[in-house]
Amino acid sequence: MRTSHSVRQRPSVNMAGVGFRRWAQALCRGNGSGISALVSGCRAASGVSKGSLPGPYPTTPEEKAAAAKKYNMTVEDYEPYPNKGEGYGDYPNLPERSQHERDPWYQWDHPDLRRNWGEPIHWDFDMYIRNRVDTSPSPVSWSSMCKQLFGFIGFMLFMFYLGEKFPSYQPVAAKQYPYNDLYLEKGGDPEKEPEEVKHYEI
């Protein structure tokens, strides 16, 4: 889309373009004075036009065809979300597939997103990027995965419960000291004979 403002982006100045730009600016400023001069009816033609933005739910087949063309899809592929007032409008209902499932070897325009320029974006695209939700097929079935995980967790919980109920430790006894239970060290009388303390049995 080229307007008079494209002059700014080229290295060489197009004299006719500069003249047109000044004329357009003068036209916008021409009517009224003060604030009303700035709030003019002049709008740049660059950027998206209103016809290319999402709109309300399409009811007639012509609207559906126009919406399919707008979103760069074929008419049989284009399917809007059901009109249940959830705020989707005419946005297409694309299949719920994560970007993980797309071909890693194809030359995508944006390789990290596995997406081409201009391709219609899924409503939940930011959920389906390669860092997040993955809908690709799992190595084993869901029931098998559930059984393995909950089986392991259940078994471990059960064993820990049994361990709490029936504790088993190394056998321990009170510490045994030599020299008649350390009679002299504990402040016993050296003259007196201490009683014999035997820690063994033969």
Binding site: S52, L53, T74, Y88, Y91, W117, G118
Partner: protein
């Protein structure tokens, strides 16, 4: 190639899908052709902009603009049906009241315990 097994987390490539060869009708081929034509046109537009030596600005993606616009401008297409009202009430209104009551009763109970002196406050520095 008849015993090809795809890698555990990969989907089967299209060229090895038996449905591609055995049960394809003319309409399917035609629709695939039109899809490929659209895709090729978009690719061409992108490449023309990408390799333009006089381009100095970012390449704007209209699909991205539409996506962002659709996600932010949902209110004009909103209708208050039973389902949407129920969801709004469940996620927007009920948590306010439920959380208020939960926190209030818990705090009041704690305050009562502190006043009665039954709870041991290990880290309280103010008393």
């Amino acid at each position: 190639m008849a015993d090809y097994q795809e890698a555990p987390l990969a989907t089967r490539p299209k060229t090895l899908d038996p449905n591609e060869y055995f049960s394809v009708s003319l309409e399917q081929r035609r629709s695939e052709q039109s899809r490929a034509a659209l895709r090729a046109n978009l690719k061409r537009q992108y490449q023309m902009q990408l390799n333009n030596p006089l381009r100095r600005e970012l390449i704007e993606d209209p699909a991205l603009t539409r996506w962002v616009y659709a996600r932010t401008h949902t209110y004009p297409h909103f209708n208050a049906t039973s389902k949407t009202s129920l969801l709004g009430a469940m996620f927007g209104v009920a948590p306010l009241f439920i959380l208020y009551y939960v926190f209030k009763t818990d705090r009041d109970r704690k305050e009562g315990q502190i006043k009665a002196g039954t709870v041991e406050r290990k880290f309280c520095m103010s008393s």
